[in-house]
């Protein structure tokens, strides 16, 4: 498969009201790969992700999707290409899971259109199935657990049928089983050609599902900057991580499988 660039960040600075939180980010993400964004609290992972989703305008630099500039794209067209899932999602309405997932079709529909057509229904159905929400589809989202709501939010973004999926801490509210099935879902989406960019705190998850990791380093009194980027196997070294998180940690290789390793912070 030729290596096509799905997403390219060109000398990007992200932040609020002209004040950069992260700067000098230049990286490209190939189609059908997963990029993880790592870094300490407050390093600007979410800010960077929101800028890629065009929820906040970039302070400097450019973002390209499939070669075209993100900032000039009409919003509905953008939302057909990029889906963004926030850390926590709720509605002031009494929506059911299915009704919320159906809103993912919004960028594909006319702005006044309520009725789901055949294509919409198929996408909604598939999204609900992929996130294992079949039993919960008629439940009100206010009544389900945080983890279930997070899955519903991911289902909504899948119903968008985007080329690029942006996830902000998708495992945050999930129990062990659903963390695993989410990571499996990411791998499956990747194999189907989806490009995923996700902030993840858990370095072990990054090591297992990401093709490349971008680590942001928090600088005192100055915007964060990229510390390292590359395949997890190469860049997740004890030295790099100690520098990124400013704390001692250990990396333990799995003796039965030379590819996999686990990262611990020994107390």
């Amino acid at each position: 498969m030729p290596d096509t660039i799905a997403l390219q960040l060109d000398n990007l600075s992200a932040g609020f009201a002209c004040r950069a939180v992260v700067e000098d980010v230049s990286i490209s993400v190939s189609k059908g790969t997963v990029m993880g964004i790592a870094g300490a609290n407050g390093a600007g992972k979410s800010t960077l992700l929101k800028t890629i989703a065009r929820l906040i305008p970039p302070v400097k630099g450019k973002i390209f999707i499939d070669g075209s500039e993100l900032c000039t794209m009409p919003l509905p067209e953008l939302a057909q290409k990029i889906a963004y899932v926030a850390q926590d999602i709720s509605s002031s309405r009494d929506l059911t899971v299915e009704e919320m997932v159906a809103l993912g079709r919004n960028p594909h529909q006319k702005w006044w259109q309520w009725r789901s057509e055949g294509k919409d229904k198929a996408a909604i159905e598939q999204a609900i199935k992929a996130t294992e929400l079949l039993d919960l589809r008629q439940k009100a989202i206010a009544e389900i657990s945080g983890g279930e709501r997070q899955r519903a939010a991911i289902a909504m973004s899948l119903a968008q049928e985007p080329a690029i999926l942006l996830l902000d801490e998708p495992t945050a509210h999930l129990d062990f089983k659903h963390q695993k099935s989410l990571l499996q879902l990411l791998l499956r989406l990747k194999s189907e050609g989806m490009t995923v960019v996700t902030c993840l705190h858990d370095l072990n998850f990054i090591a297992q599902v990401c093709d490349q990791v971008l680590c942001l380093k928090k600088n005192s009194g100055a915007p964060s900057t990229p510390l390292f980027a590359g395949p997890p196997r190469d860049v997740l070294t004890a030295e790099n991580l100690q520098s990124a998180f400013d704390t001692e940690l250990k990396i333990i290789r799995d003796s039965s499988d030379s590819q996999s390793s686990s990262i611990y912070f020994g107390l």
Partner: protein
């Protein structure tokens, strides 16, 4: 008051659902099934029609319903008094009842929009400053002796001016700050309210002060077909626009960021909704003075009875608001001994306890 403001400023969805839960608990049996929505809408429309007919029939002169219907449908009656009665019916009661109905619908949908926009069930169309601006404009107009026929125009202009000021305060990069909208609305209302009080106490003329006070209490006495036309244009336009935007209102309920990620131009949507709310409320205030409460209670009742579908809720809000104001106006002009009761005051007087009743019957419900 402070409490109300603090609660209104809170934007968390928990509270929004909380009040919904209270109301739902109060009328669980009515709200549970979603199957008979059409029936409920039909009942509501039936109540509106029946109330409408009653309203045009009763008053100082009673007109028999059959006769009224015949006259309204263009037929003629044989009675000798028919010409006088026909005038009362078509020149006084009909326009007045239509104005009451339209004012109710306009305020209710305006309230619905504001509540959706702020994600807060306590929001009310007057939060936009429309009422206070209109009140101040009318007070000034009365003091400087503007012709009475120009009162609605002054009210509309004053209301829009205040709303623009509030909107300007609420503007921020990428749209509207709802918290600032509410805070600015409260602040500007307070300033205008004080100015009105100053004008009332310092005017030096009892008739002027009384004129202002009476206008502030709300009422539709003396309004005719001319007032109705303008009001109807804004209201019908506003309701149709809101219905078209209803899907986007639902997307917006997920929060500004998620809505934008779903392709919604949040800033443009907020401005459109605010404009619709302000124009409808402004037109209503111009026609009827300050009719409080209906903008708050009608959307809450509609959400309670017609959960989950914004389009139905909007239509139901309009119908409920129309019924409330029409019935209050009927009471305002028939219950008073010789003098009309103030419509807005009457509505709050009857609506307030009803709202409290709904809340109190759901004690023990999870809030």
């Amino acid at each position: 008051m402070i409490n109300t403001i603090t609660r209104a400023v809170r934007r968390d969805n928990v509270e929004f659902n909380g009040v919904g839960q209270i109301l739902k608990g109060a009328m669980t049996s009515a709200a549970d099934s979603r199957t008979n929505i059409t029936l409920r809408l039909a009942i509501l429309a039936g109540v509106l029609l029946a109330g409408f007919l009653t309203s045009v029939c009763i008053g100082d002169v009673f007109i028999e319903p059959i006769k009224a219907l015949t006259l309204l449908t263009g037929g003629s009656t044989n009675s000798a008094t028919a010409p006088g009665i026909a005038d009362i019916l078509t020149q006084i009661r009909l326009p007045r009842t239509l104005i009451a109905t339209t004012v109710g619908a306009a305020l209710a949908v305006s309230g619905y929009i504001l509540q959706a926009l702020s994600r807060n069930p306590l929001a009310d169309p007057y939060l936009t400053g429309v009422s206070s601006g209109a009140g101040l404009a009318v007070a000034i107009a009365i003091i400087i002796g503007v012709d009475f026929n120009l009162m609605p125009v002054s009210a509309f202009a004053g209301g829009l001016l205040a709303a623009l000021l509030v909107a300007q305060m609420a503007r921020r990069a990428g749209g509207l700050s709802v918290t600032r909208l509410i805070l600015a609305g409260v602040a500007i209302s307070a300033v205008c309210g004080s100015l009105i009080t100053l004008l009332i106490t310092q005017s030096g003329s009892a008739s002027q002060s009384q004129g202002i006070i009476f206008w502030l209490a709300g009422g539709i006495a003396g309004r005719g077909w001319n007032d109705l036309t303008t009001l109807l244009i804004y209201t019908v336009g506003g309701i149709i626009a809101t219905l078209f935007l209803s899907k986007q209102i639902r997307v917006l309920s997920l929060g500004d960021e998620t809505a934008q990620a779903l392709g919604v131009d949040v800033s443009r949507l907020q401005w459109l909704l605010l404009a619709a709310a302000v124009l409808m409320c402004g037109a209503a205030v111009a026609a009827s003075g300050l009719v409080a409460f209906v903008g708050l209670i009608a959307p809450n009742l509609a959400r309670l009875l017609f959960v989950r579908d914004e389009r139905v809720e909007i239509v139901a809000s309009a119908l409920i608001g129309a019924v409330l104001v029409m019935l209050s106006d009927m009471a305002a002009r028939t219950l008073g001994q010789g003098q009309e009761l103030p419509l807005g005051t009457l509505l709050s007087l009857a609506g307030g306890p009803f709202f409290l009743y709904l809340i109190s019957t759901s004690k023990g419900q999870e809030v």
